[in-house]
Symmetry: C2
Subunit: 192 residues, 2 copies
């Protein structure tokens, strides 16, 4: 099982954003939608052994966490609107302290990074980390930030986590997930 | 200069598709929009030395080719709608046999793969190709297909091109572009 958690620092925590304006009205929800895509999609298939956690930290009731489970999710297409529509569906459900299913493979709860940190041993994806290609052991859970840096409080929470870099350029979160998957695929299949 | 060309087998060749339904009304235009994203975007920057060619082969007047140039394009954001809006703008311009500018860094012409093949020495990205990590020399122009396989006619046109694979799994075109960029970035910067 591989997990990706992405912190959306401005991502809205209710469903009042527009699918026609995911970047503006959703608080850069477009980034999180693309992270769902790169976490879960193979060509004409889904990565069944992957979970994608979106940590929404924007108004009005942060934080909330939405989980997409590759083994169960339905009605998810690769386009941003499709993931966005499911995020709205999850945010329409009253959230409690435990994950509640909004649809197959889609669940939501209150709480953010602090709770996730008690459940996963994350590797943080960060430009200053160890090159993931040369790393001996790679974790099975990865934490990324959206277009903004980790806050000071988040940095404190993750300061003990190992850090991994995917390459020399500073790239988008969703692109980073693609490269991590490629490294994991190669190791699993005996490619160099 | 690095170039990516993506064949959109069903992608509409006029501007009558809806930004609210890029997959359906646009003939899987969402795929091409994501390929523009992964070809051109760095975090908070653009890859200035990259051109992305979209070869639109759907109705009503195929083929047309749209070029996004990273060194000149403006008003392009990472979300699918942003690239889709620029594609519509390009398709609203009457196209001739040569590229005409629809906006800075955005141009369009009639013609498709056959003409591009006279201008670039493509490496084809294909699951059966040589592993790009172990390949001695990598070209600077890459050709990909969308969610459909190359047609028989296209296969004939590219049969002399070297083929490269990015990994053991069959993945989306836009994800493939991300991994090619990572390999090129690493080689340019002396990473393994």
């Amino acid at each position: 099982m591989t997990s990706f958690a992405i912190i959306g620092h401005l991502a809205h925590t209710n469903a009042d954003f527009s699918l026609n304006d995911l970047p503006g009205s959703g608080g850069r929800m477009d980034i999180l939608c693309r992270c769902v895509n790169t976490s879960l999609f193979l060509s004409h298939d889904l990565r069944r052994d992957v979970a994608c956690y979106l940590v929404l930290c924007g108004g009005p009731v942060p934080p909330k966490t939405i989980r997409f489970s590759g083994d169960a999710v339905r009605s998810l297409s690769p386009d941003e609107r499709s993931a966005g529509a499911l995020i709205k569906k999850a945010l329409n459900l009253p959230a409690g302290s435990k994950f509640r299913d909004a649809a197959p493979g889609l669940s939501v709860r209150n709480g953010g990074l602090a709770q996730l940190m008690t459940e996963h041993v994350f590797g943080v994806l960060d430009e200053k980390g160890t090159d993931i290609r040369t790393a001996g052991i790679i974790p099975d859970a990865f934490l990324l930030s959206d277009h903004l840096n980790f806050t000071q409080d988040e940095e404190l929470q993750v300061q003990q986590c190992p850090r991994f870099s995917v390459g020399p350029e500073c790239i988008h979160a969703d692109h980073t997930i693609t490269i991590v998957h490629n490294e994991l695929d190669r190791r699993r299949c005996g490619w160099k």
